[in-house]
């Protein structure tokens, strides 16, 4: 890139080579094996006879590779990913915090990893003990009365929580008609309310980006089932009129659902159960450090007040007079199951290990550090990036690209340019109430050095936007591939590999371009 214009110095990263790697199918050749089964110690069988002809001739184009090739294949792919383990991952709203390794270790202990979900309860007391202790901890942390760990992810938790609200209203003779959702909410909220058979009513945020209590009061009536509220909100602000919001709802018999996506800003400092929340979900993969794993698995426990307890999904954990734990399936008012078995147990183990590693003091310090880090970034960047809402930030700070768009640079461009500086981008274009949002959530896991590098990168990019916007608009420049053609991907979807005859000829990738 020959230019005398300003181009920032990428202090955190230096380009290095990564290996090229084709699809496993393209590397396959017949006869290679990566497995060896134990010899069969029972008589061989004739499949076509046993299966009455429903035998497949061929399992299709699965790859045939040796073990070393498999190790290299996936190791090479892994090196193309950015990860928390490599550095700050400020993806706002996703809470990309450190995933402790002891969590992984204990979840793989044989008696835990190999526990069959239908093994007798007398031989599952360890597993049930994990469920019990985690439930107790989460109830204490949220200040609620009861909990289910069954939901598999945050959105699944929302679904469960709204089903609880529905069952509660139904038990009073009227399921009610609508759920109120602020315009700053995650897309999962309206999608959830709709899938529970509710009409969605949109609540416009006030000038501070929070709930307009007066507008809410006008909206709430005997048809309102619940308000789904993210607190702190998606702009990282605590709803300081939360008690009034709860009162407005409760006066009309409606419930307050809290989306607990941002619970990491509250743990040990305040409890939703104390400020009027009736039902909420938690994301164990956010607040409680279970790994995001490239997009899951999650886990979305739902905690509620006593009035909703009878409706929890079946089964619920119970303790007998003999002290033994067991599953109670006798739940006549239950909303039913939302998932088979008991939930993502492997995530319960990890979340519990995290709580034990922290203790009450560590959990509180974690929350304080997360809030401290977000405010530090806010303080260090607010002179160069527009702060659309001046309200105090909790665990994340949301800027807008208002100043940069004057030079034709949008939040998505700045995000891509951050990659060249060695960071994962922040969340772009969310929440919807902030046009051109830059949603930054550092989490507690970042040292001051890492934060300073991030601030330095963001400031250098701001300068590039002023003096050399082209370098930002065409970013990233340092990655294996440049921006991808998403339009063609959507117009003419290619969602699977096909053997060469039917697919485009494959060329070995050229090495990442130096710039």
């Amino acid at each position: 890139m020959a230019t005398d214009k300003f181009v920032g110095t990428t202090r955190k990263v230096t380009a290095h080579l990564t290996q090229n790697e084709n699809l496993s199918f393209e590397k396959s050749s017949p006869g290679k094996k990566g497995y060896k089964l134990a010899p069969l110690d029972v008589p061989e069988v004739e499949a076509s006879a046993l299966l009455d002809g429903a035998v497949r001739a061929d399992v299709g184009a699965l790859p045939e590779l040796s073990e070393i090739e498999i190790i290299r294949h996936f190791t090479r792919l892994s090196t193309w990913n950015y990860a928390i383990d490599l550095g700050m991952y400020p993806l706002g709203s996703c809470t990309m915090k450190y995933n402790p390794r002891v969590n992984e270790f204990v979840s793989r202990l044989e008696g835990i990893a190999e526990a069959h979900p239908y093994q007798p309860e007398s031989l599952s007391q360890g597993a049930l003990g994990v469920v019990k202790l985690l439930q107790d901890c989460l109830i204490e942390i949220t200040g609620m009365d009861a909990i289910t760990l069954q939901p598999a992810a945050g959105a699944h938790g929302e679904f469960t929580g709204i089903l609880l609200a529905r069952a509660y209203h139904q038990s009073k003779g009227n399921a009610r008609k609508h759920v109120i959702i602020p315009d700053s909410a995650h897309g999962t909220n309206p999608a959830t309310a709709a899938s529970c058979g509710y009409q969605v009513i949109n609540l416009k945020s006030n000038a501070q980006g929070g709930v307009d209590v007066a507008a809410l009061a006008q909206m709430v009536n005997e048809d309102t089932a619940a308000l789904m509220l993210t607190n702190p909100s998606t702009i990282g602000v605590f709803e300081n009129e939360i008690h009034k919001i709860a009162d407005v709802l409760h006066d009309k018999g409606a419930l307050l659902y809290m989306d607990g996506a941002n619970m990491n800003a509250l743990v040990g400092k305040t409890r939703p159960g104390d400020f009027g929340v009736d039902v909420m979900h938690l994301n164990l993969h956010k607040t409680f450090s279970t790994p995001h794993g490239g997009g899951g698995p999650g886990s979305g426990p739902v905690a509620c007040k006593k009035i909703l307890e009878p409706f929890l999904p079946s089964p619920v954990l119970a303790q007998g007079a003999d002290g033994l734990l067991h599953w109670n399936y006798d739940r006549p008012e239950s909303v039913g199951r939302v998932r088979m078995l008991y939930g993502n147990f492997g995530m319960f183990v990890r979340a519990l290990a995290y709580i034990l590693a922290n203790g009450p003091d560590g959990l509180r310090q974690t929350t304080e550090d997360a809030v401290l880090n977000a405010n530090y970034i806010r303080a260090k960047l607010q002179d160069v990036y527009e702060l659309p809402y001046n309200t105090p930030s909790m665990h994340e700070v949301v800027f807008s690209d208002k100043r940069q768009t004057k030079n034709g640079v949008k939040t998505g461009d700045i995000a891509k340019r951050l990659i060249d500086y060695g960071f994962h981008p922040y969340t772009t274009s969310f929440p919807l109430i902030v046009p051109g949002a830059l949603m930054i959530e550092p989490t507690e896991s970042e040292s001051r050095e890492e934060l300073d590098l991030f601030v330095d990168a963001m400031r250098q990019i701001a300068r590039e936007v002023d003096e050399n916007p082209e370098v930002v608009i065409t970013a990233p420049h340092s990655t294996r591939i440049s921006r991808l053609d998403e339009t063609t991907a959507a117009r003419k979807p290619v969602l699977r590999w096909k053997a060469p005859a039917a697919s485009t000829p494959v060329e070995v990738d050229t090495p990442a371009k130096e710039w």
Partner: protein
């Protein structure tokens, strides 16, 4: 706290730079009456060695050293060690949904390989990047069929996993679906243990959106997919085939007549882990692409013409379509899907067949051996690696005796199928040895003898 990379001095300095006098200045928006001024009542901070000891003690309270014949939707197969070794690479473990394609090509390419393998195995045209599990996947498949057909009748075979049916019911009740169950052919008749085709034919109407069956079904029996498809399609209904035992696809003909396949891929190298996380996946005919829930990865090119992968068709999803989305699903099971992808790469084309054949052989031997002591139900209908045993003795008593011999016997079916009497569902995978099967048969026999002697 060892996970927090700051000294108190640094914290104080940062606060100074922000212009706050104390950390509580940053929490002023929390109304004072709601601030927690005490410690949370959770266990005190533990050292790492204590945490490991805690969970070792936990593990010791679970079943250890037992021969287990449990299956019923959660299967014990060998998990090649390379799986755990690879998925614990931080670049896979600690990255997130690949929204930024330039720095997540590893995850994206792996998902593309996953989608391809699922298509090959199921005989479908398209597959998504995974669902929570087989039960929610089946429920999502039903909602998908309702959207596609514009009808609201749902027919579900009683031979579908009972907990899948419960989940489907929870989802369906608020969508206004008319969900009904179709029974199975009773013991002693041709096709015993399979969905009752005559009853199905009667139940399907021009208001039926879909027929949901499982194969191998909950009894381990293979359903006659082409015949069921005919009945459904004649009335314009879709056929959804749920597959709870994905290893079966190594030898069993794929359900190519289905419109949607909902699979639980736990068998592909995912730990039992007391019920999760597992790996659901939806696959379908290409024409239903726009109604498919969940994330999809597609191939495309970058500005230089190099191949790359991106999340695509995201307009179906909740973050864009909000209340009109195909589903509220957001997080999927990416890391678990990666485990299954590695598993399938390890076994490959030949290995999947060999593995499935071993399962078939072990289950045949186990069924033959154990049924010497009881009655094998649905014996003449083709099955994969599970079978139903009827005994004179009640399952609870039988299993209590087996436990004394460190054997976990078959799962009692009385809760879900009381009409089957003293029936238990047994499973034998490739990990079950002949010696374990023989020992179980001997223990069952001894149990019968002592029961008879009472």
């Amino acid at each position: 706290m060892r996970y927090l990379p700051k000294s108190d001095a640094e914290r104080a300095e940062m606060l100074r730079e922000i212009g706050a006098s104390s950390i509580d200045d940053l929490f002023v928006t929390v109304p004072e009456e709601y601030r927690l001024t005490r410690d949370l009542k959770v266990p005190r901070q533990m050292g790492e060695s204590e945490i490991v000891e805690h969970f070792k003690a936990t593990a010791a309270l679970n079943a250890n050293g037992y021969s287990s014949f449990l299956g019923a939707g959660a299967y014990r197969h060998y998990r090649p060690v390379v799986i755990d070794s690879l998925v614990q690479r931080g670049e896979f473990l600690t990255s997130y949904t690949p929204y930024q394609a330039e720095i997540t090509q590893g995850t994206l390419q792996a998902i593309f390989e996953f989608q391809t393998m699922i298509c090959e195995l199921t005989g479908m045209d398209i597959a998504n990047a995974s669902m929570y599990d087989g039960s929610t996947g089946a429920a999502e498949a039903v909602m998908m069929a309702v959207r596609i057909t514009g009808r609201d009748g749902v027919l579900v075979a009683r031979t579908v996993h009972p907990e899948y049916r419960e989940v489907m019911h929870t989802y369906a009740q608020h969508q206004g679906h008319d969900a009904r169950e179709v029974g199975y052919i009773a013991e002693g008749q041709p096709g015993a243990g399979r969905i009752d085709l005559a009853a199905l034919e009667q139940a399907v109407t021009d208001q039926t959106a879909c027929v949901l069956v499982q194969s191998p079904n909950f009894f381990g029996v293979m359903e006659d997919i082409p015949a069921i498809a005919d009945i459904a399609h004649k009335k314009g209904a879709l056929l959804i085939v749920s597959i709870a035992e994905a290893v079966s696809l190594g030898i069993v003909r794929p359900p190519v007549e289905a419109d949607i396949v909902s699979m639980e891929a736990q068998s592909y190298g995912v730990a039992l882990s007391y019920g999760g996380p597992y790996c659901g996946v939806l696959a379908a005919k290409e024409k239903y692409l726009r109604q498919m829930p969940g994330r999809l990865v597609g191939e495309t090119k970058d500005t230089e013409g190099r191949r790359g992968f991106v999340l695509t068709l995201s307009t179906r999803e909740q973050h864009i379509r909000r209340e009109k989305a195909t589903s509220n699903i957001c997080t999927n099971q990416a890391l678990v899907a990666l485990m299954t992808t590695i598993f399938l790469t390890v076994y490959g084309k030949e290995g999947m067949r060999e593995l499935a054949l071993q399962n078939l052989a072990k289950a045949k031997y186990a069924a033959d051996t154990l049924s010497a002591q009881g009655k094998l139900l649905f014996a003449k209908t083709p099955r994969f690696h599970e079978f139903v045993l009827e005994t004179d003795e009640a399952p609870e008593a039988l299993n209590a005796r087996l436990l004394e011999k460190k054997i976990i016997g078959g799962l009692s079916l009385s809760k879900w199928y009381p009409e089957l009497g003293n029936a238990t569902l047994w499973c034998a995978t490739e990990l079950m040895t002949r010696a374990q099967i023989d020992a179980a048969a001997a223990a069952v026999a001894a149990a019968l003898v002592s029961a008879a002697a009472r």
